[in-house]
């Protein structure tokens, strides 16, 4: 009995059941037929012979693309010129010989589609040869690390990013916010971009329910594409009995980008990513002093209250991490480490708690980098350093302060920006105050009275240029219902309400979302 392929028989049998069918289209081809040259000439081509291929026949929009055709030739004549029509209005041309790769002159195609790139070569007799190749241009969604902003959502604190913060309408992409909702949770506190040595981008978000990390989806890496908890509230509560954590996560960027360079500060402790150590923290609303120990990197002092700020500084010896907080009553300090927390050195002793630090790379008229430090509720407690913390000078007092019935309003946020005529702004719940370099004097840039009574300006962020000048957008306390207000320019007034919570949130959190580098 002759051999009969059982596979084939089975396939035929299954074919009785009907089939799914698909039809695909591919690229075009351009068949050509060549003639010989009479005489003793070798080769069988009609002169000139254009031979071209695309280095990539499928590319993303705005991606450099090139063709190669330097193997084109003439067996009987001399080539003199070449010309490439990119089929989108762009052309390239030159004298022979061409470079090994001829690149699209506009840096790539701006619109998706199929483009027929045509090459024409010409010899000294004016004879031409042509070749063509199709290039398929597709739309490639940007990877989110390049996106302009990260937003932390509203009352159910989802996380989404906006593909273009200035587009209208904005397009938001949810980073699987459902994984972050924890019953009874409050709201997120801070977040940071971080990038490791492999260029992989991650988001670290501190919340009052722990620390989460989001790694951009990579099918080859497990655990990517969704939020993973890295520090849980259970851990916090077990160790410190806290029910609220002030988290601030940041990255020390360095040449090695070691895993331990992600530091988190929560409660009263600074600790490296790879080792939790012993954690102590305390309730945000607890006014009882507690002695807490900082374990990470042999931090040398006892912290009385919370350590509220960490920043990465380009110090004289390289990258440093500055950690500022309040260590004893009425005594704030800043310590720094340049070896990932192995040792800490006192940078400055302040007269009040370190509420915020703003590290500005601004090059002043002195030609030096500027380091600014703000403290507490004391209108004399604002300091700056221009020599990497070796010496400190006060920034001066505000001319007037309006408390609006709130006692000792704490500075809740600080930003710096380098627009012409403006240098720094801080808010303290009811005031927006700014200063301009190099005067150092402060001017209150107040919101409209009566409009926002009993509400708290909790954050102060800047989004580029608004209205042609430097602008500041104040975010309401997220627990309040409402939007936000925005200011234009540097003068008092011109405050306006932003429409839409998403707009407010996105703009407000933009500052957090920017990568460090």
């Amino acid at each position: 009995m002759p051999y009969v392929d059982p596979v084939l028989r089975e396939a035929i049998r299954q074919a009785q059941q009907g089939a799914l069918m698909e039809l695909y289209t591919g690229t075009r081809v351009y068949p050509q037929y060549h003639c010989c040259i009479s005489g003793n000439t070798v080769g069988v081509y009609k002169d000139p012979v254009a031979i071209m291929h695309a280095d990539d026949t499928e590319v993303c929009e705005l991606t450099p693309v090139s063709v190669s055709f330097d193997t084109s030739f003439s067996a009987t004549s001399t080539l003199v010129t070449w010309a490439v029509d990119w089929d989108d209005g762009n052309n390239s041309a030159g004298a022979w010989p061409p470079p090994a790769h001829v690149w699209h002159p506009a840096g790539g195609y701006t619109l998706s589609g199929v483009y027929t790139v045509e090459l024409t070569i010409t010899d000294i007799l004016g004879e031409t040869g042509m070749a063509a190749v199709d290039i398929v241009v597709i739309y490639c969604p940007p990877s989110w690390p390049a996106l302009p902003g990260i937003v932390v959502g509203g009352l159910d604190w989802g996380v989404a990013y906006c593909q273009d913060i200035y587009a209208s309408p904005k397009v938001w992409v949810d980073l699987q916010s459902s994984e972050l909702v924890v019953a009874g949770s409050k709201r997120p506190r801070c977040l940071r971009f971080a990038q490791d040595i492999n260029g992989e981008w991650q988001i670290f978000m501190g919340t009052d329910c722990g620390v989460y990390r989001y790694r951009y989806y990579d099918p080859a890496l497990p655990g990517t594409g969704h939020w993973t908890e890295v520090v849980s509230t259970t851990q916090l509560q077990t160790l410190g009995g806290i029910n609220f954590a002030e988290l601030c996560v940041w990255e020390i960027d360095n040449a090695q980008d070691m895993p331990g360079c992600i530091y988190a500060v929560f409660g009263a402790r600074l600790w490296p990513w790879t080792g939790m150590g012993i954690v102590y923290s305390h309730d945000y609303f607890d006014t009882i002093d507690r002695v807490v120990y900082v374990q990470a990197g042999n931090f040398p002092v006892q912290a009385k209250e919370w350590q509220s700020e960490v920043e990465v500084v380009q110090g004289t010896g390289g990258r440093e991490a500055w950690c500022g907080g309040c260590y004893t009553a009425n005594n704030g300090r800043i310590y720094y480490t340049s070896n990932y927390g192995a040792t800490w050195t006192l940078k400055h002793s302040m007269v009040s708690a370190v509420e915020h630090m703003v590290i500005s790379p601004y090059v002043s008229h002195t030609g030096k980098g500027e380091f600014i430090n703000f403290m507490g509720n004391n209108n004399t407690g604002k300091y700056r350093s221009t020599d990497f913390g070796a010496t400190w000078n006060t920034m001066g007092a505000i001319a007037a302060r309006v408390s609006r019935g709130m006692t000792s309003p704490w500075i809740t946020d600080t930003i710096e920006y380098l627009e012409a005529g403006s240098f720094m702004r801080w808010v303290n719940g009811v005031n927006s105050v700014l200063t301009t370099w190099p005067i150092g004097g402060w001017a209150r840039d107040c919101v409209e009275t009566g409009r926002y009574a009993n509400q708290v300006l909790s954050e102060c962020v800047l989004v580029g240029r608004i209205g042609g000048g430097g602008g500041c957008i104040h975010l309401w306390d997220p627990s309040m219902i409402g939007g936000a207000i925005a200011g234009q320019g540097n003068s008092i007034g011109n405050w306006q309400t932003l429409t839409g919570w998403a707009d407010c949130i996105s703009v407000a959190k933009l500052n957090y979302g920017w990568p460090k580098e």
Partner: protein, 399 residues
């Protein structure tokens, strides 16, 4: 490379191949978008059995490529509400049918080194490449000659078309020469090699495919494109020294509708006469049967054959006689798109015995046939179909 999918816009009318054409063809419609396809654009048809496919040891829901070809100039009609393209796509034989070639006098100069690429010799290259019909076909289509000089420009990309793909010399090409037989025929050592010849004239043509097919027929080869657009140049399986066995056996369980058996006259050709030229310029002749089978009848006489072996020529004459006097042509219907699992000139077999109920008096057990035509008709909005195979009886060609 896939550019897009037009499954939702399209409707396949038929996919098929015929031995006389040497390639596959698909007819289809595209609705509602006259830019969905373009002339000379690649189209690929894929299918998968709805119920999966149990391959001996487990379910295998694979997708099959049923056709891979290129769109011919098409037409479309339209009204205010919509449009419809009616198009045909063919494998690359469609291009070659519209391709031209100059007249070329090929020659093998033996111990005199070649001057150019229309010449072969016995001294250039390691290994040396003497002229065969397969190498002529290769030259016409395109190849990378690296045998060394002469000519002084070697290595050279040598071609009369731009269809053949080469990673460095012609990356824009799209067909392969992997299935082209170029090695020389030797009887009985390599009986299915390509015939050596010292002189061969390729006449100027405006149908390069016809020229290639003619070269193939001159040595009882076949030139064809399979459904995946791969070019084959090889001994016609019927004339192979050892014909291949049936790839599948059809029985009544594998039939839909009604098979049709066409009986044929078996005394149409009383003798086959073949005239061949050897590479040295001498002639060979073969006749089968040696004396006329019948007093009257047709004689099939064929010339321009290239053959260097009397035994081979005798064999071909015998096979041709049997084929021309075969008793049956059968139309066998397979379910669904099963026809896309076969190729032209593949052998299959049929096992069937008639019954008293249907009064069919055939008793076939693994009766061998050769596929000469395949037509597949998708139906039911591209979810089912029927395949019609035309089978030519073997008639003893296979031992």
């Amino acid at each position: 490379m896939i550019v897009g999918e037009i499954s939702s816009l399209s409707n396949i009318i038929s996919i098929g191949a015929d031995d006389s054409r040497g390639g596959w063809e698909m007819q289809f419609r595209v609705m509602g978008d006259t830019d969905a396809i373009d002339i000379n654009q690649r189209v690929i048809f894929r299918w998968s059995p709805l119920m999966g496919y149990e391959y001996l040891y487990g379910w295998d829901g694979r997708w099959w490529t049923g056709f891979d070809g290129w769109v011919l100039p098409y037409r479309f009609s339209f009204d205010v509400a919509g449009s419809q393209i009616t198009a045909t796509a063919q494998t690359s034989d469609g291009f070659l049918r519209r391709g031209w070639c100059q007249g070329i006098g090929f020659v093998d100069r033996d111990t005199t080194p070649r001057d150019h690429y229309h010449q072969f010799d016995s001294v250039t290259g390691v290994p040396i490449e003497r002229m065969t019909l397969g190498r002529i076909v290769r030259h016409l289509l395109g190849y990378y000659d690296q045998l060394g000089n002469p000519p002084a420009t070697n290595p050279d990309w040598v071609a009369h078309t731009n269809l053949v793909y080469h990673v460095t010399q012609n990356p824009a090409g799209w067909i392969t020469l992997d299935f082209v037989t170029t090695t020389p025929f030797v009887w009985p050592g390599t009986p299915d090699g390509s015939m050596r010849t010292d002189r061969y004239i390729v006449r100027e043509t405006k149908n390069l495919w016809d020229t290639i097919r003619q070269i193939a027929s001159n040595e009882f080869f076949v030139a064809y494109f399979d459904k995946w657009d791969r070019f084959h140049y090889c001994r016609h399986p019927m004339y192979a020294a050892t014909p291949p066995g049936a790839v599948c056996n059809f029985d009544e369980k594998m039939s839909v509708g009604k098979p049709v058996v066409s009986t044929r006259l078996q005394d149409q050709v009383r003798q086959v006469i073949l005239h061949a030229v050897t590479d040295t310029g001498s002639t060979l002749h073969a006749e089968y049967p040696g004396s006329f089978a019948w007093v009257y009848g047709n004689i099939h006489e064929q010339s321009y054959i290239r053959c260097n072996s009397q035994a081979a020529l005798d064999h071909w004459a015998h096979v041709l006689f049997l084929y021309m006097n075969r008793p049956y042509t059968v139309q066998w219907n397979l379910p669904g798109l099963a026809g896309l699992l076969f190729e032209i000139n593949e052998p299959v077999s049929i096992t069937y015995t008639g019954t008293d109920a249907n009064g069919v008096h055939i008793n076939w057990t693994n009766e061998k046939f050769w596929i000469s035509n395949i037509m597949v008709y998708p139906r039911g909005n591209n979810t089912s179909g029927v395949s019609v195979l035309t089978l030519e009886s073997d008639n003893g060609i296979s031992p």
